[in-house]
């Protein structure tokens, strides 16, 4: 039994008056890929933003490594090892690939560790090494996604929150991205994956949670959810 690294307990988050997350609870164990699936507006991105403290939950607890972290600040959580790779990649288009990566290591002070992490990212994404001096904005969509994930890896994370990494990518690129996610798990990374591409995500995931209008309506192992009639009908077509 591996230990729980991240746990949400009855988390409620509001956008103004809109109740976006309703009593969301789930847990992520070390070394697992956990996926959140659901349609548009189900609250997947909101969940990730709540975890990384970009949004403050109204009540409920976000527990990370046994510590209650709701109400903390995003920059403190980055130091603690939560890397959030935001939806739509959000790379810095006018900085070079390498500068983008260095931004990811903002919370690190040791130059040695930055260099080590950078070498690791370049090893993982040889394409980025080829394009290290190119401006972020000139990369293809898939390369930008690689850059965003690489940038997330730069801060020595214990858990990565990946928000729609396959969004808007060519099918071949989607496969590459999923391969990389799998590889990261094999190297011990814990990943919380938000995906619209439910079939691929569930095949990969140890555990999945289905969100609908802000609530968790279903949970189970990846394989269980893949077999579930409701999931098949609603998300797998």
């Amino acid at each position: 039994m591996s230990k729980t690294i991240l746990q949400l307990e009855n988390v409620n988050t509001y956008y103004g008056k809109i109740h976006a997350l309703k009593d969301v609870s789930f847990e992520v164990n070390e070394g697992e890929i956990v996926t959140l699936i659901g349609s548009n507006g189900a609250g997947k991105t909101t969940t990730l933003k709540t975890i990384s403290a970009l949004l403050k939950p109204a009540n409920g607890n976000v527990v990370y490594m046994g510590k209650k972290v709701n109400g903390s600040a995003p920059h403190l959580l980055t130091i603690e090892g939560i890397a959030h790779v935001p939806e739509g990649r959000k790379i810095f288009p006018r900085l070079t690939v390498e500068e983008n990566l260095e931004m990811g290591a903002f919370s690190l002070k040791s130059q040695e560790r930055i260099k080590r992490n950078k070498d690791y990212v370049f090893e993982l994404f040889p394409r980025l090494l080829e394009r290290r001096k190119q401006k972020g904005g000139t990369l293809s969509g898939g390369e930008q996604q690689m850059l965003a994930m690489g940038r997330g890896l730069m801060c020595d994370p214990k858990i990565m929150l990946l928000d729609e990494p396959s969004m808007g990518l060519a099918p071949m690129m989607i496969q590459t991205v999923f391969d990389i996610i799998k590889k990261l798990r094999s190297e011990g990374m814990t990943i919380l994956l938000v995906e619209q591409n439910a079939g691929k995500a569930l095949k990969l995931a140890n555990k999945g949670y289905v969100l609908q209008t802000g609530s968790v309506i279903l949970s189970g192992t990846g394989a269980e959810l893949l077999k579930n009639d409701m999931v098949r009908e609603a998300y797998l077509g």
Partner: protein
Amino acid sequence: MDTIKNYFRLIKEKQLIQLVLIFLAPILFYLFSKSSIIFLLFLASLFLLYRIRLDMKIKGIVALLDLLLIIPLAGLENSYYLGIITQIVIYAVLAIGLNVVIGFAGLLDLGYVGFYAVGAYLYAFFATSQANNVIPESIYQFPLSGNWFWLFLPLALIVSAGMGVLLGLPVLRLKGDYLAIVTLGFAEIIRIILNNADKPINLTNGPKGLTPVKPPEIFGIVMNQPIHFYFIVLVLFVIVFISAYRLDHSRIGRAWAAIREDELAARTMGIPLVRMKLLAFATGAGFAGMMGVVFAARQTFVDPSSFGFMESIGILAMVIMGGMGNIRGVIVGAAAVVILQLHLLKELSTFLTQLSVSGILYIPSQLDPAKYEKLVFGLILILMCVFRPKGLMPAKRTMELIKGFRKKLTKESLS
């Protein structure tokens, strides 16, 4: 000797002209310190000196000679041009400060001049007898002596930076246009308070302003000559330039760049957003406050009308014209705007007036050149926006510090 010969062989004709200008213009300026064309030529040579490819040592020596010898010597002959150069340096410092806020952190601040006013009034209040309206004469008889000027430089920096943080705390939740409007309002609030704080207790003497402000003093020498102020602002300029440069190339500078590019991404990178924005605001405000002290001491007179909205816009124009985010560009912008405003347009006005006086060209009094200075200035700005929207010297996106780091890395990872 061979290297020198080789060097000269490599120089093309165009560069030769530039070289001649760089060495000749200062000498001409020293000899004919009253000629307007030679003055402009001299300033152009300073700019060229920066652009030209030349041994750094030679460049440095020529620059030092120009700044420390030629300008003061020519200035003793003709204090008018020395005044313009001093003005350029003052505005260069202000523009560097505003550039930290706008160019580095990407926060549109239209109330910059408010902090300039804070610094100016802080010194003027204690360096005139005004302070006796609050502190009884029996305790201390104001004005303070000019020796205090030196203490007020850092003091104004701290007070203005503090004001920057106070204003920033509530305001920095806003972005873009909204931030611009609130900061604009802030500067107006400061100006109007200065205008009206003459009752019930007379703090600022209202629209009449405070005078005479004590000039700075050091080792018993009263520094009230243009040449003194030239050296004071030059020293402050060097300090501000180096600090801004170091900030830009530090971790903080990187954080600012990230915030400017994409706030959400910057936050997910672990950059403390509010703290970094406040720091940018405070830095800019501090530089402005410090220059305010110099302004008060130099003019020996401060009044609220010196800190109007147009002043903020003027400094903003320097930053935009020079190239947002580029410290050197902003300095060029400051020089260009000051020369336009104080020198070229005035010269044009007097030239046209002379024409109409001598009857060559009739200009009706409605079209008196002195009246359309601002129009010409506006036209130039519009042309700038059309043809050089990123400024005279756009900022390079690459960061030198990282470049150096990268060079090291490339070597290691390739070997």
